[in-house]
Symmetry: C2
Subunit: 181 residues, 2 copies
DNA sequence: TCTCCCATGTAATTCGTTACATGATTCC
DNA sequence: GGAATCATGTAACGAATTACATGGGAGA
């Protein structure tokens, strides 16, 4: 699971065509702000995606108006995005939870609720295996702040595990009451 | 709050002298594995710190044995580390919670329990201000996975806020029963 | 002897950061 | 007319990643 910024850009462009400036604003003003909103990150990233043929930018309003390049996903880009979304989770991904949650947040739209539930299941499995290894590092000699920090890490993953369960329950109940999508 | 890897290296070397390989092992085998354990990250970082005069490496076992460069903090390095630890938290730091927790985990040893409590207090203040801005992004049109991801983000910061309170309580109770340190 | 682990490094490439540069438009 | 904002980009630099390279020592 590489290149989180590109992954986020593809996800946003899959929703609708946007300009570089639109994308920047999303990264400055919304919870997606984990990603860089600097023009030096976004414009080069868009250029890379365009060179790969995954997105296509076209200037809107040819006339006298303020110029604006609107980017949209190509068929190849949609396929690449789908593949990124399908990449199976590994233990390493737990170190980049932001990216994991980005993927999940786009999953309903890219692959539908069933895939979202499968994703939650695999996340739960990985967490259940990982948490005990964290606990093994609780040692007697630690400073209080060191111990508290580690305890927080453990509690954090545990609460994420709890979240996966409640999220799966939400999918079940939303399926019962008039199926979404 | 910049350069998390260097910060982590200084923190580890402050505890005791270690070799590059020791440091790598810590990053591969312990919960500090958020940082890169690749030699291409660690050795250049150690060189930078040494060039700045913050650490000094010296070869152990001059004789025929396997060579090993042990790095230790210099006085300048200890001062730099102290300053990094003292850098006040900002809202931006919430996007790099790993780094925040690293700082906290080292705080008892670098500045003592009183500083740790002050740190927790400032973290709680920033969280209390930030969480409502996240909540403002819960919108009706979102997909279920999008909504769940955002809800998780909010719950995560809320549980962190709860953790700061219980951690402060732990400091109070550990102060009551025979002073720590 | 062969393989695995200890231990240290470098090189090429990629990506992000900060800072700069440019020009149009809107609002006062 | 001047400031703020829209909108797009580039340049210099710093740092991480992957992969490669080297050599000693320990155990089978």
């Amino acid at each position: 699971m590489e290149a989180p910024l590109e992954h986020a850009l593809l996800g946003l462009l899959q929703q609708q065509p946007r300009s570089g400036y639109d994308l920047r604003k999303i990264f400055t003003a919304t919870p997606m702000g984990i990603f860089s909103d600097s023009p030096g990150a976004i414009y080069p990233a868009l250029q890379r995606l365009e060179r790969r043929g995954w997105i296509a930018g076209r200037i809107e309003n040819r006339g006298a108006l303020r110029r604006r390049r609107l980017f949209r996903l190509t068929a190849a880009g949609a396929a690449a995005f789908r593949q990124l979304q399908e990449q199976p989770l590994t233990t390493d991904d737990l170190k980049r939870l932001h990216h994991v949650m980005l993927k999940f947040s786009l999953m309903d739209k890219s692959h539908g609720p069933a895939a979202s539930v499968a994703f939650l299941k695999s996340l739960a499995r990985i967490l259940a295996a990982y948490i005990p290894t964290l606990r093994a590092h609780l040692a007697p000699g630690m400073s209080l702040s060191g111990r508290l920090a580690l305890e927080h890490g453990i509690a954090d993953y545990e609460s994420l595990l709890g979240w996966t369960r409640s999220a799966m329950a939400r999918y079940r109940s939303s399926a019962r009451r008039g199926a979404p999508r």
